[in-house]
C-alpha cells in the first residue's frame, strides 16, 4: 500500500536527496570518461539551478519568478 504524502513533505524529501544526487553526479562524471570531466562544474551549476525549481514547486508564490529563468 502506497502512503500518500502532502506536497510540502514530498518536496522536503526530494530536497534532502538532492545533495546526495549531486555528489553522485559529480563522482559519475569525474570517474566516467576523462573527456567529460570538464562538464562537472557546469553540471553542478545546473543542479544548483534545479534546486530552485524544487523550491518553486513547493512554494507556489515564487514559481513564476523561478520558472521564468527558463
Amino acid at each position: 500500500m502506497i502512503k500518500t504524502r502532502g506536497r510540502t513533505r514530498r518536496g522536503l524529501i526530494v530536497f534532502a536527496s538532492t545533495f546526495g544526487s549531486m555528489a553522485q553526479l559529480a563522482r559519475g562524471l569525474w570517474h566516467s570518461d576523462s573527456d567529460k570531466r570538464w562538464l562537472t562544474p557546469l553540471a553542478i551549476f545546473l543542479c544548483m539551478t534545479g534546486l530552485l525549481l524544487i523550491v518553486a514547486t513547493t512554494v507556489e508564490a515564487l514559481a513564476p519568478f523561478i520558472y521564468s529563468i527558463w
Binding site: G28, L29, L39, P64, F65, S68, W70
Partner: protein, 254 residues
Amino acid sequence: MYSARPHERPTAFDRMLIPVQRWIWSDADRRVQKLLRFSETETDGGRDILRAAEVTSDPLLRRLYLEHAIDEFRHGVLFRHRAAALLKVSPCRSNSGFQGDWLTPGGHGLDDLQVDGESDSDMLAFLHLSEKAAASRFTVYRDVMQHDPPTRAVFEEILHDETFHMNYTLTQLARVEPKRHRRHLWRARLSRLWKVYLRLATGLSGILGSMLLTIQYFVLLPPFAWLAKRAARRELSGWTIVSPGGSESLDRQY
C-alpha cells in the same frame, strides 16, 4: 460600439485595454499567433470539460458538460481554420515580437485545473467566471476587429456559445448548491485573483529572467561552449563498445 446583448459588455478593465488590444490585433502575424494560441487553449479547455463530464455523477451536468466540451473543440477548430486562412494569405514571419500573452486569459485552458479533484459546485463556479471573463474579452476582440470581418465573425459565433456557457454554469450552480452558490462564486473569484497575481508575476519575472539568462549567456557559458566544441571535435563516430561491467551497478542514476 458595444452593440450586442448587455451581458457581452466588456468589464471596465477590458475596456481600458482596448487601445492595446487594437494595436496587438492590427498586425497580421500577431493575429495568426494569437488565433493559434486560442485554438490550443479552447481545445485544452474542451478536454478539461470533457473530463468533468466523465467524472460527475449528475446526469444533467454530464450532458451539459459534454455539450460545452463539444463547443470548445469546435471553437478550437474555428480559430485554427481562421489562422490557417490568414497564413495562406500572408505567410508568418518567424518572430512577431510582443504579443501581450500574459494579458490574455483567453479561456480556462490557461489556468491549471485538476478536474478529477473538483466538486461539481467548484467546477461550475470556476467555469462560470472563466466564461464570463472570456465573453468580456472576446467582445473586445470582436469590436477591435472591424478591419477583418472573417475573424470578427469567428469571435461573434464563439461569443454566442460563451453566453450560453456563462449562463448555464450559473443556473446549474444555483441548482446544485441552492444555499451556498454565492460562497462558491466568491471562492472562485479569490482563486482567479491568485491566478491574476501569478500571471502578472510571470510577466514581470519574464523580464528578470531574460536579463539573468543574458548575463549567464555572455559570462558563464563561453568557456564551456569552447570546451564542448573541443570535445565534439575529438568524438569519434561509429560504434562505441559497451563495456561488459559498465552497467552492472544499478544503484547509480548517472
